[in-house]
């Protein structure tokens, strides 16, 4: 087995072991922390699809966390707490927003793409801030978590934890399949050499746009989970620094690897947690750390820990 895969499975097994460990230590806080880690791992994995494999540097992925989160929050606000419906709307609405943003931004590349995705996310952020009906700046409280009848009770923290873990595993596996399918080969080819890709007869645009939409939809699901996790929604779900953090998770973990987003989300969020317990000014350490990672550890953790893996 490739070392990257071993690393990934090891991390996922560790996630699975957290609830009993937290129970044994009587520290329910860990359950909360790692659930958050896994939700961001889903978001980072979705970004990795377009950023790592597709070469599209989206600086606006928090938009879909917000759209997915607000889809749940707004439905709940109007008394609809059917989880199937909420999550379906979260995924669907994120896909639609990704289609709208993507159809404009995917035509561009490089710096334009970065600025446009950032700008549209900021637009959604301001939209969230200005709609008083849904709490505006103050946010929206989720009265209760998404309801799945007798099947699942997300009010049970351990059960909710394992639901998130199951979704994470599913997402990581699905993206792994996707990037190795015909479709995945095309978006990776377009990233590797666009002129050659056109010369052999592909039009990259529809494939890139489809990847962008899929990525947005998955991140929308992460948003629905995050809303349930925090039980409280604010426009800060879509804050531009969120987009930056998700992007950093992908790079820190290792771009274009299956394990990367999971490792990156784990290390970044745990580091933030450690640093913030130590000083309120933890960002003064995190910022330069980020610069150093970019300058000296470009391949990320997966690259450092598993040098033999390529497109796993």
């Amino acid at each position: 087995m490739k070392r990257g895969t071993t690393l990934l499975i090891g991390t996922l097994l560790l996630f699975a072991a957290i609830p009993p460990i937290a129970g044994w230590l009587n520290e329910p806080f860990y359950l909360d922390l790692f659930r958050r880690v896994m939700i961001f791992a889903i978001a980072a994995a979705s970004l990795n699809l377009i950023l790592g494999y597709g070469g599209m540097v989206s600086f606006g992925h928090a938009a879909y966390l917000g759209v997915g989160g607000y889809a749940v929050g707004i439905l709940a606000h109007y008394g609809i707490d059917n989880g199937y419906l909420q999550w379906a709307v979260a995924i669907g609405a994120s896909a639609v927003v990704a289609l709208a943003i993507g159809s404009i931004s995917v035509r561009t590349s490089g710096i334009y793409f970065i600025m446009i995705t950032l700008a549209f996310t900021q637009m959604l952020y301001y939209l969230g801030v200005s709609i008083e009906e849904f709490g505006g700046d103050d946010g929206l409280r989720l009265a209760r978590r998404s309801q799945f009848g007798d099947l699942l009770d997300l009010a049970n923290p351990t059960l909710f934890y394992y639901v998130v873990l199951a979704i994470l595993v599913l997402v990581v596996f699905a993206i792994h399949r996707l990037v190795n399918s015909r479709f995945g080969m095309v978006i990776r080819a377009a990233r590797s050499n666009e002129a050659r890709t056109q010369a052999i007869g592909f039009s990259p645009y529809p494939y890139r746009l489809a990847a962008f939409v899929i990525s947005g939809a998955i991140c929308g699901l992460a948003g629905a989970l995050l809303a349930n996790h925090t039980s409280f929604l604010t426009p800060d779900f879509m804050h531009w620094t969120r987009s930056g953090e998700i992007m950093f998770m992908v790079i820190l973990g290792g771009i274009a690897t299956s394990a990367g987003p999971v490792l990156g989300a784990s290390v970044l969020l745990l580091l933030e947690d450690l640093l913030s317990a130590w000083t309120v000014h933890w960002q003064i350490i995190l910022g330069p750390f980020l610069v150093l990672v970019v300058l000296f550890a470009r391949k990320g953790l997966a690259g450092l820990l598993a040098r033999d893996e390529r497109h796993g």
């Binding site: 015909r182 050499n193 002129a195 050659r196 010369a199 052999i200 592909f202 390529r310």
Partner: protein, 250 residues
């Protein structure tokens, strides 16, 4: 007389004051190997770029297999069977040799909105790709990353990719550029095997290659075709000798 596969009429392209293509008229017959030669700056690369659809001409028409393809994009031309190699090797450096060719096969095997099944397991892509690698002599190198292939092997790989698109016309932009003597010889032998089965338009500086391979040669000088004919006719052509060949072949 064989049918005309490619017909270029009065093609013009200027960059500022430079007339890179100054009214080129040219035809390629089905089955022939047609070479374009000319001194540096004669406009050969500009011509190839226009034929492949990567550069728009200012005026003139390009007909391919009876259809006017002048307004079509590069990818649309590729789908109609017009394939090119680049002067500077253009391959997927971070993919294996086999993946490179399999992608070219895939580009012409229906749409690629297939999300689940690993492309590596699709025999419909892998088998033809492997067969073409065998044909160009890269069979043993199938699983090597393209970036790690020798320069000559990379050029062979590019030709393999172009072939894998099942082209009706192959545009080869200096296929032996930058190759050593041995690699050049191998490439020429390979193209000679292809000759007759595959229509080719070849831009090349290497005169040995051109005169041994081409059925007909067109000589391009300052963006114009000054002569077209068999190798013997071109050798004997006074204009060509004066303008160009004098120094190089004589």
């Amino acid at each position: 007389m064989a049918e005309t596969l490619l017909l270029v009429t009065e093609l013009r392209k200027t960059f500022g004051a430079l007339r890179a293509t100054d009214g080129i008229t040219l035809d390629v017959l089905a089955g022939e190997t047609h070479a374009i030669i000319g001194p540096n700056g004669a406009g050969k690369t500009t011509l190839i770029a226009q034929l492949a659809g990567m550069l728009r001409p200012d005026s003139g028409r390009i007909r391919f297999a009876g259809e006017d393809i002048t307004p079509l994009s590069a990818q649309a031309r590729s789908r109609r069977g017009l394939a090119r190699s680049f002067q500077i090797t253009s391959i997927y450096r971070d993919f294996t040799a086999l993946d490179n060719v399999a992608l070219a096969v895939q580009a012409h095997a229906g749409h690629s909105f297939r999300f689940w099944r690993p492309a590596h397991e699709e025999r419909a892509l892998r088998q033809p790709a492997q067969a073409i690698l065998n044909e160009v002599g890269l069979a043993a190198r199938a699983d090597v990353l393209a970036a790690n292939l020798a320069h000559g092997e990379q050029r062979q790989l590019e030709v393999a990719m172009v072939l894998a698109t099942g082209p009706r016309l192959l545009l080869l932009d200096e296929p032996v550029a930058g190759m050593g003597a041995e690699e050049t010889q191998r490439m020429i032998e390979f193209l000679a095997r292809l000759k007759g089965r595959q229509t080719m338009l070849l831009v090349e500086h290497d005169m040995d290659a051109v005169f041994s391979l081409a059925d007909r040669i067109s000589v391009l000088v300052y963006g114009r075709v000054i002569a077209t004919g068999t190798p013997a006719e071109i050798r004997a052509n006074a204009d060509v000798r004066a303008a160009y060949l004098g120094e190089e072949v004589a």
